[in-house]
Symmetry: C2
DNA sequence: TTTTATGATTTAAACGTTTAAGCATATATT
DNA sequence: AATATATGCTTAAACGTTTAAATCATAAAA
């Protein structure tokens, strides 16, 4: 019905110039030497007419939208929605708003999202990059828009980023399994060339080696994001066969763990006696698996806050050198990993 | 480094007017009678210079931001993050982008978020409203901005909304428990005056009554959002005491269920023999509770798609009468509810 | 009295678009 | 030959802000 009230409305209502109103509204009366009585009137009518500034117009003028674009693999994944929540809170504390998009681990969708967000002039990106998106990230940087990588990263891309030490985290988990007498330790990873996953696999292999266990190719399975359930069912079936039967499992993400645990549940295998388990991340489900699941916990709080902090820093100081925040991952031991 | 390319850049580059470039870029050459050769040149340089339209400027002109503001209680709650994902996909299919905020069930935060989103000129709101926000929703409607309520609603507010039939869903769940021989059926609900929760409680009571079970006040517990764990631990402790001991539990949301199940897990009570359970919503954890949890499933797919559809309809036809989409809830039976 | 501050307010341009209206020039219709 | 129509392009205003610069009083200093 009624159009929104603009500075102009206040101005004409009082018979003064728009400029004057702008100064008062923005508390620049001092510098602009606005008369105290008229300032008072302006303030009063602004309230009367319920003036609300048009942030779009402000943005056009200032070139700042106070918006952060968040791109993750899937916002409905509890790991990412947890991060999203932290980022939302932290961003809003600083007057920013978050628009989000899910890439589904697809470079194409990722590019689409970047374009959309770019055209909307977001002030910064926080991205959990999908595979093969180095060039996309580099392109953003080249056009001088702040980018913070979260959870994942690219060795070839100098960027602000927040993540854990994946190699070490995986090493620690697998080392724990080995030190507790497990000798046939399998790993379920994502099918991706992304370094964070590669490093988790490297950590796994290194821990095996350092514990005198010869790595077997058949122990390391990778599931594709697009048909994760199918891949996991197939892989688990094989690894739980009597001939191959492994005595421990390390899951590289919470999603992989949840899907795998379903198969284990159906298989009748006893955790932790016949099979020890350690997962990555956290998940409500871990508490309820009949043998509560041990996991490497990443603090989403630190990840999210760190990401926003880096983004704001970068907005403020476009030329400062890159910062990596490495947050600590810690092993949370429950029952599934066997005795300690 | 390099500023973004604007229509002006293309125009000066070719020595033509901005207008001409605008027409070509927007494929209005026909109506605007642009010469074919110059159109070709414009298109070429647009690509060469990698022109990307400034959506902020477009928005200022058009009054449309192609943005939907989503307000939920907590984006990290899997129910809401699931809905967010659907809304994201559906919105983007239609050229919209989603900005989100979590109200934490606080009317104050809700108002803050609305103001922020309003000033950013969102084209529509999709809101899972918090308690005591009727007036906020009404205010939005009064200023003629499209609002769709999701999951929750207010009898006193005529609005587009998408939700299940809460009374019936709760009735069905509790009726199932009663029909299977449970006679002391407790319910864990949220402490709120929101109608959807009231109706779930009403459905619970009605099902008791219709099954000849006298409702006892002590059976119906409510936990406050702010200290849910504490409230639940206290309530469960009491209800599982031998004197009062109930033989079935109905949980009004997935969060309530997860917290309660933790207590049950520790209590040593046998589900479903000593205690039958039905929850609301879905959760990874339900699959892994030692006695897989039966639940009333709401299709977040339908909820999310419906909400976006209503929002777009309302944007297109501001004066059309309100629509309510009532999506079906269905009882998914597992083991926790006992034999069928 | 003239100059110079000082104070209060307005003008104008800009951000990047869109779009109605205007202006030439060429071609077709009387 | 005069007029209408078509074609190709530009001007100008607008969306709602911000902000440097200009204007114009009036008061204080010379």
């Amino acid at each position: 019905m009624e159009k929104k009230v603009s500075l102009k409305d206040i101005a004409t209502h009082l018979g003064v110039s728009i400029t004057l109103v702008s100064y008062v509204i923005n508390n620049k009366e001092k510098e602009a030497r606005v008369g105290p009585e008229i300032a008072e009137k302006i303030r009063k009518t602004a309230i009367e007419l319920n003036y609300q500034p048009n942030l779009i117009a402000k943005s056009l003028k200032s070139g700042k939208t106070n918006t952060i674009g968040l791109i993750v693999a899937d916002i409905s994944n509890p790991f990412f929605s947890g991060i999203a929540r932290i980022i939302e809170d932290e961003a809003r504390k600083h007057g920013y708003v978050v628009i989000f998009g899910s890439s589904d681990e697809s470079a194409e969708k990722s590019q689409d999202l970047m374009n959309v967000f770019l055209n909307r002039q977001v002030d910064a990106f926080i991205i959990a990059p999908a595979e093969h998106t180095e060039s996309q990230v580099k392109a953003l940087q080249k056009s001088n828009i702040p980018v913070v990588l979260i959870d994942r990263y690219f060795p070839s891309v100098k960027a602000d980023c927040v993540h854990i030490n994946n190699f070490q985290a995986a090493y620690q988990a697998v080392d724990h399994l080995a030190k507790n007498g497990r000798t046939k330790i399998a790993m379920m990873a994502y099918q991706t060339t992304l370094p964070h996953m590669q490093e988790r696999m490297d950590g796994y292999k290194a821990a095996l080696r350092d514990n005198g266990i010869r790595f077997r190719k058949s122990w390391l399975r990778q599931a594709a994001y697009q048909h994760i359930t199918k891949d996991i069912v197939a892989a688990m079936k094989e690894l739980l066969e009597p001939e191959l039967q492994v005595d421990a499992f390390f899951f590289a993400t919470n999603t992989l763990a949840v899907e795998s645990l379903k198969v284990i549940n159906r298989s009748g295998i006893k955790v932790p006696d016949e099979l020890a388990i350690i997962s990555f991340d956290e998940n409500d489900a871990f508490d309820f698996f009949y043998s509560p699941v041990s996991y490497m916990s990443q603090s989403i709080e630190e990840l999210g806050k760190g990401a926003v902090q880096l983004a704001l820093d970068r907005i403020r100081h476009p030329r400062k050198k890159n910062t990596s925040i490495v947050v600590e991952a810690k092993l949370v031991l429950r029952e599934s990993s066997g005795r300690r």
